[in-house]
Symmetry: C2
Subunit: 353 residues, 2 copies
């Protein structure tokens, strides 16, 4: 039996509460399907670690993660101790960049049993992927201030789009679209307002589209695209977007599908030269931490995505079947209108797996 080494990083806040349930589900799947998973837990990449060491991670973090195929990640951020941009750039965003996890893949799916905030939608009506560029674009610490502290103060913020970075995410998205029954791709742009980078993005989309004649593709400016997520989510299949637009659309999409409390994500290095990272879309949620009421489903679903990435489609499907059963029949955490706690939901799902 092949053994996959998985790094476990719970991070901050409810990351620490949902992680045990994610692991419980993975162990259940591993037992049932005979999958060799070896977990190694790391206490860093958390604000607690920062409080003790003045940095988010040890200097040899890369060496410590060597040999891991994947990172199973909870959530990071505790603004009372560390400002968000410090904690995130020192951990999650570092993983994404330095491990070249250039695909952020986020399913948007209206699940059975989940009340939808959009009127009249039923499961099956909303079922698409947001494919987000995850290493460059608008997320940048390049730029600076001038005339600091005076009335003339001025800030320059650079966004950086490379052909390398743009083409590979578009390629991933077109290939995903080609594998799906609808073979439809939508590119998010804003070339009517952002005059250098977005016309470039549009050009590369058009160029890539030529290599995928079977894929029907269109593009929308991100403002109207956001509106269409609300007004006609059924029209989407694969939505590809820059780092920032993908960030916005992949929170908005799950909100339209009921709740970001259950939404998973995969930060992929498709070439497998580095570990990929699997994490809930939700954050560390300081406001509900400590009560053991966080919904563990996003963590468990992220685990299912990890199993699929490792090649275990059947195990993925079994976890998702258990998740769906739980969404329909309970138990439910308070955010879903129930009164079960994190552990109860996690145990119920794992038992079903």
């Amino acid at each position: 039996m092949k053994t996959h080494k998985i790094a476990v990083i719970a991070g901050d806040g409810i990351g620490k509460e949902v992680m045990p349930e994610g692991l419980r589900a993975l162990e259940a799947a591993s037992k049932r399907f005979g999958i060799g998973l070896e977990f190694e837990t790391f206490e860093w990449a958390s604000c607690d670690y920062y409080a003790q060491h003045g940095k988010m991670m040890p200097d040899d973090w890369k060496a410590q993660l060597a040999g891991c195929e994947a990172i199973f990640f909870g959530a990071v951020g505790w603004p009372d101790i560390v400002p968000d941009h410090v904690s995130l750039w020192g951990s999650l965003l570092k993983f994404r960049r330095e491990f070249d996890q250039y695909v952020n893949l986020r399913p948007v799916r209206l699940m059975p049993g989940v009340p939808c905030p959009l009127a009249g939608k039923k499961p099956g009506d909303i079922d698409f992927y947001v494919v987000r560029e995850n290493t460059e674009g608008e997320y940048s610490a390049v730029g600076g201030r001038m005339f600091e502290g005076t009335d003339r103060e001025l800030v320059l913020q650079e966004a950086i789009f490379t052909r390398h970075g743009t083409d590979r995410i578009l390629k991933y998205a077109f290939e995903l679209a080609q594998r799906r029954p609808k073979k439809h791709l939508t590119a998010a742009t804003k070339s009517n307002g952002i005059a250098i980078s977005m016309p470039y993005w549009d050009e590369r989309v058009a160029a890539m589209g030529e290599s995928y004649p079977e894929v029907r593709w269109d593009k929308y400016h991100v403002d109207i695209l956001a509106a269409r997520f609300v007004l006609s989510p059924e029209r989407f299949d694969v939505v590809v977007a820059s780092n920032l637009f993908g960030d916005i659309l992949s929170d908005l999409g799950p909100a339209c599908a009921g709740t970001i409390g259950i939404a998973p994500s995969a930060n992929l290095n498709p070439e497998r030269s580095f570990p990929s990272l699997f994490e809930p879309v939700h954050g560390s949620a300081p406001d509900i931490y400590g009560k053991n009421i966080a919904n563990p489903i996003a963590m468990i679903w992220s685990g299912a995505m990890m199993l699929e990435f490792l090649g275990y489609t059947e195990a993925h499907d079994a976890v998702m079947a258990a998740v769906e059963h739980c969404l329909v029949n309970g138990p439910r955490t308070p955010d879903m209108g129930g009164s079960a706690n994190t552990t109860e939901v996690g145990v119920a799902i794992s038992e079903r797996i």
Copy 2:
């Protein structure tokens, strides 16, 4: 009787169809309330003009608009003739910048008679303003390409935030919040990912907040903020945002409130050193142009905002009462489930005024 000179620019596509109805409503209000309005129509700032002259506007456009207090604007853009970034930067975005219309004010309101895509919401539940910075930030043509046409191709896109530009929009938003019963302001940010400009924005928000102790304010990252527009729109009162985030949120907001087909906007130079501009949020809609089925309500509502800006609150209220009556009782254009045409809806509203 004081006379206000108003420039009328219909622009492209359905801009040309809804403009007559906007004017009809303004004339009705002007007659009823004895308001002196003098309209001057300009055929430029349209793609037709571009087709003939190779530019969107004549060189002396500023001189031609001298003496106008406001511009009543339809929509611009006809991508088959002129790429969007050319037509927009050559007209609308030029007005916003060169006339220093630094406030883009966009009401988000669930109106009676409008079916809401969000389940279980009724009029009154959604009623807030998006205050968008309208001259700088992410909308920029500063930047460039390197290694063009090679695998190393690279694009730099600059966003520019000045203290002058940031503080004045925040001030406008805090003052608006202070005048409203809830006195609540939400700032959109993304300082956890965009590492130079957004932490600066946050700093300025906090500094401005100190001058408005009565205003309760909070801030959200734009990704989760977009999600909350869908999940809990009733919590918002005044939302202040940078140019790009304001653009996205002010399309998303109206979508949550039913339709962007009726949403108005005001591009304000609050100091009145230059004309302000009033326009629908919707665009030129090439797909439905020529059928006379576009909904004229966004244009008419924009006219109401113009009347308010000119100091005629009663006239504004009368136009809005007529709009509400029409939304509840019809006639309705096809986008609202009716079968009336643009003119019929416009005439019905004007008669009621």
